[in-house]
């Protein structure tokens, strides 16, 4: 690897980081506006054109607030927890391919930060690391409601990670690779080569599990405002609270991008050969990826403002008694069909 390669990677890292943070801001705005629209309200429309600078104003407010550290907390862990949640959330995006390859000055640049051969495992591992942040935040706060929130969150994540992983196994069986690039390229061609059409059950299980993984409604038991005050981040204020907030949205963005990569052909535009179009193809594929991800982000908000929260026992029943057996069944069927075909 020479210097130019290194510089290119640095640029990609900065670009992806900036894009994610921008998307986080966009999501905060979109969440408030769309929720308002669903409730026949207008939502924030005062700061800047159509209220577009509202997230900036919110960010500024967080920066200027007093940063309170309660006396009874376990200080090192209390300070570490927000970072432990935010860093994995931002790191996950590294392996997701967000476009086909670009050719600049005779150099082929793939639109992906790290093309590693265990991309799927990497994402699953990092999302699991994120739960440490939640548990530690809940525990180190030395307060009952955050602790309950943290416990709920860990129980929920363990239950749903299983079915999520098993749903992905079906995809991995069909692709024969854990590399996300291979998963995307195996979905190229016509529309029905997308895995959502080949694996509808896996998609459904994965989608539900992803909502539980990102602690979004209808599975936001970790921060159920009505029951737990604020959940695991009750004792946090100022920028540390904002970090939890950003981590939550960054997780959502990564999860949406992951869903698109696994089931909706990643950056693939159906019936279009991106490789033959050169740099324009790369640009179009990037736009296609962004649009697909945006749809899933919209779905997050849409679902949040439509469905009520699950009860704790309902959550566990759904996870262990419905989704896990279905995911296993799906693997059996997929494996059986693949064996018959080959």
């Amino acid at each position: 690897m020479d210097l130019i390669d290194f510089i290119i990677i640095c640029i990609k890292v900065v670009l992806v980081f900036a894009a994610t943070m921008l998307a986080v801001m966009g999501m905060i705005y979109a969440e408030r506006r769309i929720s308002a629209f669903i409730q026949n309200r207008l939502g924030p429309n005062r700061v800047g054109p159509k209220g577009l600078f509202q997230p900036l104003a919110d960010g500024l407010k967080f920066l200027m607030k007093e940063d309170i550290i309660p006396t009874a907390v376990n200080k090192p862990l209390y300070l570490l927890a927000p970072a432990m949640l935010l860093i994995p959330a931002l790191m996950t995006f590294a392996v997701i391919p967000f476009g086909s390859s670009l050719t600049l000055f005779g150099r082929q640049i793939s639109l992906q930060v790290a093309n590693i051969n265990i991309g799927v495992l990497y994402i699953l591992a990092l999302t699991s690391v994120g739960v440490y942040g939640i548990v530690l935040a809940g525990w180190s706060s030395n307060s009952k409601y955050p602790l309950l929130g943290g416990l709920r969150s860990s129980a929920q994540l363990i239950s749903y990670e299983l079915s999520m992983g098993l749903a992905i196994v079906a995809i991995v069986l069909m692709t024969g690779s854990l590399r996300l690039n291979d998963i995307v390229s195996s979905q190229q061609g016509h529309l029905f080569s997308w895995y959502v059409f080949k694996q509808p059950l896996a998609f459904l299980i994965f989608l539900i599990a992803v909502y539980a993984e990102t602690n979004r409604l209808p599975f936001d038991l970790a921060e159920a405002e009505q029951e737990l005050v604020g959940g695991y981040h009750t004792e946090y204020s100022s920028m540390k609270f904002a970090m939890f907030f950003m981590a939550e949205y960054a997780n959502m963005i990564t999860a949406a991008a992951f869903t698109v990569t696994l089931f909706f052909g990643g950056w693939d535009i159906p019936f279009v050969d991106e490789a033959a179009m050169g740099n324009w193809g790369a640009l179009l594929s990037g736009i296609a990826f962004i649009l697909k991800t945006a749809f899933f982000l919209f779905l997050y908000i849409w679902v949040r403002w439509t469905f009520p929260r699950f009860r704790y026992d309902q959550l566990m029943n759904l996870g262990w008694k419905v989704m896990l057996p279905l995911a296993l069944l799906n693997i059996f069927i997929t494996g059986g069909i693949l064996t018959i075909i080959s």
């Binding site: 769309i34 629209f37 669903i38 409730q39 026949n40 309200r41 207008l42 459904l204 849409w302 679902v303 403002w305 439509t306 469905f307």
Partner: protein
């Protein structure tokens, strides 16, 4: 006869939940494109309907005389005791002989019940549709005769808020 209670037995289709979830999503989607109910207050103002009981006014005859004869029926009817009248002889040649020298209403005490309006034999005191008259001081919410007559000029032939919306 006993009533037969029939409980709904969920079918397999119901137990799938997916169609029901989809229905719910469609409902919220529909609401997303509906007309918004928000009134952006300082820019847009709610126009109260006819008969709204807001700020008071003192009516005048077309020739400019005050209708009030300072009979103090309104002050007597007022459950909050917020109307204070000082009567005196009328300065005008024709018409009634009595006339209010002072006519003060303590808006902080007023409960906007409209009894004064009903008690008035001369149709002199009336409640208008004006609702946003907040002030920073107690003194600012003490409205005198001049103030009440000014409100009459503002509201005599048009709805106060219809006008402010046109601007």
């Amino acid at each position: 006869m006993a009533t037969v209670v029939t409980s709904y037995e969920p079918t397999f289709w119901d137990k799938l939940y997916i169609p029901a979830l989809f229905q719910g999503l469609m409902l919220t989607l529909k609401h997303m494109f509906k007309k918004k109910v928000t009134i952006q207050y300082p820019d847009e103002k709610h126009v109260p309907p006819e008969g709204y009981r807001g700020l008071h006014r003192l009516n005048k005859y077309p020739d400019g005389r005050i209708r009030c004869v300072a009979c103090e029926m309104c002050a007597a009817a007022c459950p909050a005791h917020c109307i204070h009248i000082v009567p005196g002889p009328s300065p005008w040649e024709e018409g009634k002989e009595r006339y209010p020298v002072r006519f003060d209403i303590d808006l902080l005490r007023c409960i906007f019940c409209g009894f004064c309006e009903m008690a008035c034999p001369e149709k002199a005191i009336e409640l208008t549709e004006i609702y946003d008259f907040a002030d920073y001081s107690r003194e600012g919410l003490w409205i005198d005769k001049a103030g009440l007559l000014e409100i009459y000029e503002l509201t005599k032939d048009k709805n106060f808020y219809d006008n402010s919306n046109e601007e």
